[in-house]
Symmetry: C2
Subunit: 249 residues, 2 copies
C-alpha cells in the first residue's frame, strides 16, 4: 500500500482505492489506525488536501471514521449491519427512483424476496417475533392511525417476519430491499387505503407462522402481492387519467 503509478485518474481516487484495497484484503484490520494525513501525504508524495479528499471518499462509504485531537486520526471502521443497512437502502431507493422501475416489477421482486424467508421463519419464529407481529397488527387496526404511522407499522410487521428467519445475512438483504421499495408502496397505501384487507392478510400470515405452516404463509403472501398489485394498477390508472384525461370507454 505505497505505490501510486502516475495514471491519468484523480490522485485522490487512486489513494482511496489503495487504502480500500488494503482494508478489503485484510491488510488493515478493524479499529487499526491509519497514518496521519501528513504521513500519508509523505508516503504517497501528494499534498494533504489530496489525502483528505481520499479519506473523505472512504468515510462516505463508512470504511473509516475520523477522530480529532491528540491520538486521533482515521480508523478502520467495523462495518456494522446498521451502517451497511443504511447504505443499502439509500442505494436501492435511488436505483428505483432513477431508473423508472415499474410498480409491477418492484412489487414482484419484493414479495418474491419476502417469500424466500417464510420457510425459515416458520421453523424458527420465537414468541418475541409473533408478539411483535401481533402488536403491529393491533396497531394497524386502530381507527385514528395516521397514514405515516400505518406505513411504519407495515414496515415493522414485515421486518419482524424477515427477522423471524433468524438469519442476520438474510435480514440484511431482505429488509434492505423491502424498505427501499417502501416509498413506492406508500404511494399505494396512502391513496387506496384499504386497511381492513391488509390487516386481515397480516393476521393470516401471523397465524401461519404461529402454526409453522409455511405453505399457508406463502399463500397469504401471494394474496397480499396480488392485492397490492391491483391497488397499484388502479392508482397508476388514476394518475394516467388525471394527467391526460382521455375518455377511453
Amino acid at each position: 500500500m505505497k505505490i501510486d503509478p502516475s495514471n491519468k485518474a484523480d490522485l485522490s481516487a487512486q489513494i482511496a482505492e489503495a487504502i480500500r484495497d488494503a482494508i478489503v484484503e485484510g491488510r488493515m484490520i478493524v479499529d487499526e489506525r491509519l497514518p496521519s494525513e501528513a504521513e500519508l501525504a509523505d508516503q504517497f508524495e501528494v499534498s494533504r488536501p489530496t489525502v483528505r479528499e481520499a479519506l473523505k471518499r472512504l468515510a462516505a462509504q463508512s470504511l473509516i471514521r475520523t477522530q480529532r485531537g491528540a491520538f486521533g486520526g482515521a480508523f478502520v471502521n467495523r462495518l456494522s449491519y446498521e451502517g451497511a443497512y443504511g447504505q443499502h437502502i439509500t442505494t436501492s431507493t435511488l436505483l428505483l427512483s432513477m431508473n423508472a422501475v415499474s410498480f409491477e416489477t418492484a412489487c414482484e421482486a419484493r414479495y418474491a424476496l419476502e417469500r424466500a424467508c417464510t420457510p425459515l421463519a416458520c421453523a424458527r419464529r420465537t414468541a418475541d417475533h409473533l408478539a411483535t407481529m401481533r402488536a403491529e397488527i393491533h396497531r394497524q387496526a386502530q381507527p385514528g392511525l395516521s397514514d405515516e404511522s400505518f406505513c411504519a407499522s407495515d414496515v415493522a410487521f414485515h421486518r419482524a417476519l424477515v427477522d423471524a428467519a433468524g438469519n442476520p445475512v438474510l435480514s440484511y438483504h431482505l429488509a434492505g430491499a423491502v424498505e427501499a421499495m417502501q416509498p413506492l408502496m406508500n404511494m399505494i397505501t396512502f391513496t387506496a387505503r384499504s386497511r381492513e384487507v391488509i390487516e386481515h392478510l397480516h393476521t393470516r400470515i401471523a397465524d401461519a407462522l404461529q402454526a409453522q405452516d409455511a405453505t399457508a404463509a406463502e399463500t397469504a403472501l401471494h394474496e397480499l402481492e396480488a392485492y397490492t398489485l391491483t391497488l397499484g394498477r388502479d392508482v397508476m390508472a388514476a394518475h394516467a387519467r388525471k394527467s391526460a384525461p382521455v375518455s377511453s370507454g
Copy 2:
C-alpha cells in the same frame, strides 16, 4: 439547498448531505449540472477545499460525476444497475468478512434467496438463459479447468438462473448477494473439489427450468445447499484439526 446552520459536525459532511438530499428528493434531476466549486463555496460560505471534500463524498457514492475543463463540473449521476451492483457487492462482502459470519448462515441465506427466484425463472426463462446455463455446465465438465475458472463459471451459472426470472430489481438484489458470498463459497470449492456432483446438480436445475418445473428446481437447489453445507463443515473441521489430523472414517 442553501442553508447550513453552524452545527458541530464537519462542514463537508453537512454540505454533502444537503446536496444528497436535493438529489434523493428529486430537486436535482439526472445529468443536471451542479454549480461550480467556487459558486458552491460562495453559497455555503465555506472555502473551496471544503466544498471539494463534500463533492468527493458524493462521488464515492456514485451520486455525481465530475468533468474537467470549460463547461465541465459536477453532474448528477444516473445510478446505473452496474454501479449500484458494484457498491452492493463491496458493502456486502465487507459486512461478511468483518463480522465473522458463519459459513452455515451465509450458505443458508444464499440458497434461500436463490430459491426466491425459481418460480419466476421457471415461468419466464428464455432459450438464451437455458443456453447460457448449458454452456456453463459444459465448461464446468472440462477436465483442465482451473479452480478460478470453475468458480467464475459457477457464478455465471447462478447469475443466469437469477436473470431468468426477468426482473431486474430481483437480479440486482439476488446477484449482489450471491456474488458477495462467493469468497466464502470459493474456499469450499477450492478445497473439496467435487465437480461431478455440482455439475450433476446444475444439470438437474437446468432441466427443471427447461421443463418449467419449479418444484424440481427448488428440490435440486435444496440438495445443492445441503451438499455445499456438508463440504463446508468438512473444510471447517479440517481447518480446526489441521495440527492434529485425526482420521474420522
